[in-house]
């Protein structure tokens, strides 16, 4: 009957009860949507980094990463590349010749990292080919063609089919240069990458640098990002003389961003739950103070304090249980829309592109998040009931009975 009294009490003031239900629903909705948006940011940032520059795993000769010396090549790189292609769970392997150098147009020059790639292999690990603004990603391979980013093209004042000169060190340590014609201009979500990387065909670069059949880097893409750590670990054991690194190891700042986002998310959710807590305390306290006489009567006729406490707790639990499905429903509805339409943040595109994030964020929510958030919300609601319940227990029956 204590539950029955609690249940019926809720409907004595439907407007107030609806306010609590709406608060719980809004708190849950805001919390989960924020998680989804943050998660969307992180997923897109990682996705962008992985599919433009990092891939999931990279293999180098140990000393190469330090100064990117063109002479430090992967021993038996091409054979290794072929072997890796046959490992289950690996969906893309691209052997790259990498060197740093200078790109010059008729009017400007810039420092740069030059990637010599095989377009077919590279498309299995990178999505740059899907981000072409003009031209193509070596679709009709012409010798000495180059694909570069739009920001770099603007900086150099060049267009499609313009000629540029790439200057870099050869395998013998001499300075060498080659004339290339622009066959494609791309634009990724990462403006830094667009300014600092150009792609040429591996054969062209090998010829000019004299690194025939040699590779500096093998980029690997796994079927699932969750397999990356295990695959990295396996490859490290298999090739102890080589430097095998996952994307988190290559770019620790990316892992840090993920961790910062996580922390920010918890802080914001904490603030939302705190606001929710004060909302519920306020409403439940009002409900308790309004029914002071009733609590006095109940205590007078013999209802003990634990039962009164439970009654108030039940009321809050029922209201919370009503609010939770509403909040989850609203979140799912919003996510169904936003996961397709995305959240347009074009006005922040400049800053977003510096972090490698596109203008449209697609919120992502893992199903596993629902349970902890729901539990946190329920705990918050129950904690919020403690003060009003404690207040009710402090009523003196002789005084409370005569309250109007």
């Amino acid at each position: 009957m204590i539950f029955k009294v609690a249940w019926r009490n809720i409907w004595r003031n439907p407007a107030r009860s609806l306010v609590v239900i709406a608060s719980v629903a809004a708190g849950l909705y805001a919390g989960m949507l924020l998680i989804a948006i943050f998660n969307g940011f992180v997923v897109q940032e990682i996705d962008s980094a992985v599919h433009t520059q990092l891939a999931h795993i990279q293999i180098h000769a140990p000393a190469f990463s330090e100064d990117k010396d063109i002479k430090i090549v992967l021993p038996n790189g091409t054979e290794l590349e072929e072997k890796l292609k046959n490992i289950p769970g690996i969906t893309g392997v691209s052997g790259r010749i990498i060197t740093t150098g200078m790109i010059s147009s008729a009017t400007a020059a810039a420092g740069m990292e030059i990637h010599g790639i095989d377009a077919r292999d590279e498309q299995r690990v990178s999505k740059v080919s899907e981000m072409m603004l003009q031209g193509s990603y070596f679709k009709t391979p012409r010798p000495n063609s180059v694909v570069l980013g739009s920001t770099l093209a603007e900086k150099l004042g060049v267009k499609m089919n313009s000629k540029i000169v790439l200057t870099f060190q050869s395998a013998t340590g001499d300075l060498t240069a080659g004339s290339f014609r622009i066959s494609g201009i791309f634009k990724t979500t990462n403006s830094m990458f667009d300014q600092s990387t150009v792609f040429v065909q591996k054969a062209d670069l090998a010829t000019i640098t004299g690194t025939l059949n040699n590779l500096h880097e093998i980029a690997i893409l796994c079927a699932d990002i969750k397999q990356v750590d295990a695959t990295t670990s396996d490859l490290k054991k298999q090739y102890p003389a080589l430097k095998v690194e996952s994307w988190k190891e290559i770019s620790p700042e990316m892992a840090m961003v993920t961790s910062i986002f996580d922390q920010m998310m918890y802080i914001i959710i904490g603030i939302i739950l705190l606001a929710l807590m004060f909302g519920i305390i306020n409403t439940m306290l009002m409900a308790v103070l309004e029914r002071q006489r009733e609590f006095g009567i109940l205590m007078a006729i013999g209802m003990n304090k634990p039962r009164i406490f439970m009654m108030i707790l039940w009321e809050t639990v029922i209201l919370t249980m009503a609010g939770i499905p509403v909040g989850i429903g609203a979140t799912l509805a919003s996510l169904a829309y936003l996961s397709k339409a995305g959240l347009d943040l074009t006005q922040f595109s400049k800053s977003l592109s510096q972090y490698g994030i596109g203008n449209i964020i697609y919120p992502v929510l893992q199903p596993a998040v629902f349970l902890p958030i729901t539990i946190f919300t329920a705990i918050t609601a129950i904690l919020s009931a403690l003060y009003p319940a404690w207040k009710a227990l402090r009523f003196k029956p002789a005084v409370a009975i005569h309250k109007i």
Binding site: K4, R8, R12
Partner: protein, 228 residues
């Protein structure tokens, strides 16, 4: 003689440290089983305070209150709640039923708190509501009942726990003359047939006329104690 209530030199002072108000001043009183007692006196004479002290709703500043041989003066809050549940029935001026429960549920609530079975609760609640003339109002909520009917439900609720006595604070103050007459008939019948002890505060002459003992309080002291 069977003493149900024994009050010895009880005083209640409100605001003892600021402006002390002596609501009850050295009252000594015994009430025996089966008495039908009216506490009368002008407003502020201490009737309600004395009822609260007898009912264990308040603690005296000094003196002792014994109910059925148990000194309740020193009892802790939770023990007092449990004691009230088993020994004392209350009827209040403003009926004070739980608004979200039906008449039957209001009567059953006390028995539920006593841990009685669902069947026992239901049977006794129906029996009590029939005895106060409301056999057809079991499912009605307080808002669907008249003041007189609500007060009869309150009497049934007070009886539900099979208390040693019933305390009623101005039970007819909010009732019209017909309802007052009906309620008095029920209370006197319960007193005669079941030997139920009633102590009530009142200003109502019709109620005073029915009482067999009238205690008059003035300024917190017993001015007169007469049997009629």
């Amino acid at each position: 003689m069977n003493e149900v209530i024994k009050i010895t030199d009880v005083s209640k002072i409100y605001n003892p440290e600021a402006i002390p108000v002596k609501a009850v001043d050295g009252v000594t009183l015994t009430v025996e089983a089966g008495e039908f007692t009216a506490l009368v006196g002008p407003s502020g004479s201490g009737k309600t305070t004395l009822l609260n002290l007898i009912g264990g709703l308040d603690h005296p500043t000094s003196g002792t209150v014994e109910i059925a041989g148990t000194n309740i003066t020193t009892m802790r809050e939770n023990a007092l709640i449990d004691f009230r549940l088993r020994h004392i029935g209350f009827v209040f001026q403003a009926y004070n039923l739980v608004p979200v429960l039906s008449a039957q549920e209001n009567v059953e609530l006390v028995m539920l708190l006593q841990g009685k079975s669902a069947k026992e609760r239901s049977d006794r609640a129906k029996e009590l509501l029939a005895s106060v003339g409301l056999p057809d109002k079991l499912d009605k909520r307080p808002s669907e009942l008249s003041g007189g009917q609500q007060q009869r439900v309150a009497v049934a609720r007070a009886l539900a726990s099979k208390p040693g006595f019933i305390l009623a604070d101005e039970p007819t103050a909010n009732l019209d003359s017909v309802s007052t007459s009906n309620l008095l008939d029920i209370m006197t019948r319960l007193n005669k047939e079941n030997n139920m002890t009633f102590i009530f505060s009142t200003h109502d002459q019709r109620v005073i006329d029915k009482a067999r003992r009238v205690i008059k309080l003035v300024d917190g002291k017993i001015e007169s104690d007469s049997r009629q």
